[in-house]
Amino acid sequence: MSQLSPRKRYEQQERRRSLLIATVSLLAVCATLYYLVPKAPGWESVKRSFFNWPILEKTFPTLLKAFLWDIAIFAWSLPLIMVLALIIALCRNVRTPALFPLRVFGALYTDIFRGVPTILLVYLIGFGIPGLGLARPWNSPYLWGTVALVLTYSAYVAEVLRSGIESVHKSQRSASESLGLTEADTMRFVILPQAIRRQVPAMMNFVIALQKDVALLSFIGPVELLRQANVYKSLMANFTPYIGAAIIFLCVTIPATRYADYLLAQQRSVRT
């Protein structure tokens, strides 16, 4: 092995030292928890009702199946959100006086749907609209639940897109217009591609939040993961199915979050 330079040798020593300290401290914390938690007076009953292995084993397959609904709702909501958000962002960006109402609409839209708690909107739309006595399939909670999610999330994503559009330097617009491109072409070919690229990491955060917020639809009917867990909880008088549901959500959201972080880090390193 080649001789390490003094600096490399020092850095290696430091790295080993930090690793050792980190490992020791993590082990100490884990050991303390492992020792202390079972000492709590209610631990046995908590263990029985939250961390009950036989119940988890029995309910997990059905929970997984219910999670397919979450995936489906997520999958069809996402493209709708993106399209609607783009339309709203463009509305907020129009300059022609004749289209001023569009601007007002865009502003009102984002103000209202960002200002109302998602769960409230899910209730209002999910119970309210089917309450009009519409015939099937127009009274489906899947349909109106989706509408509620799309309305809320497109308002957030529209704001992300709008700030992306505004972050593109005005010299880009000058360059494009000096070549004779129309305003629409300038937006389509020059501004939007740069804006969207810049905002992908920020939008990923909303994608992750959406994965979880699909569970809000459980309150208006669809038997998705949370609802299914709820059914089991009542049936078995045990909270373990909730833990199962949490595990399933985490299996999806943790990788997604890491991926978003990775995108952000990558973007910082390239600079546009």
Binding site: S171, Q172, S174, A175, S176, E177, S178, L179, G180, L181, T182, D185, F189, V190, P193, Q194, R197, T272
Partner: protein, 246 residues
Amino acid sequence: MRNVTHKLILEDLTCRFDDLTVCDGINLSVDSGEMICLIGASGSGKSTLLRCINLLEPIDSGHIWLDGEDIAIPGLDPKPYRKRIGIVFQSFNLFPHMSVMQNICLAPKRVLNASVADTKAKALELLEKFGLQDKANEYPDRLSGGQQQRVAIVRALAMQPEIMLLDEITSALDPELVGEVLEVVKALKEQDMTIVLATHEMSFAREVADRVCFLDGGKILETATPEEMFTNPREARTREFLHRIL
């Protein structure tokens, strides 16, 4: 229709930003194939004047006659005129998300409705002429400043403009890259392109300009041949400016 004797005539052109009069009654006529250099301190109105000619800044009063047609009437659609007047900026302003080829071909495709094959062939021809043929598929951030600026010039040329406005196109470049860009400008001049160039490169202005205009406080204080301007300027302000920078 009037004033058809010159390619471009600026008549009493005034441009204000709020209270600040940036261009203050500019009069200038440019012949076809002529090269005009605008010199003057930063803030004297050179860049704004060029942006006005390209209709990027609306003018407050006056006229811009292009082939005898007033193109600066408020409310007139600027797009048909912009495509006849190319502008290159100090900071290149290439589109960072597009390759060199895409940068060059976007406007011909969208504005002139040229066929893809045609545009590409012409773009390659131009790139080759300026020694950039192997950069066609690169993205701007992989190019040096000089290369980026040459691409920006090619992008403007691809629209086959009748006039080129060059706004301090070497000011953002490292000194050793200035030469390659000025070579391109010289080549344009040899092909009888009508050029209005704002510059701080006095020796270049002296070498290639047909006429030099000295701007100060938004006015053209003095217009002369390069020989006269640099050896025997009439105005005291001009002498002072030239003395300071030469």
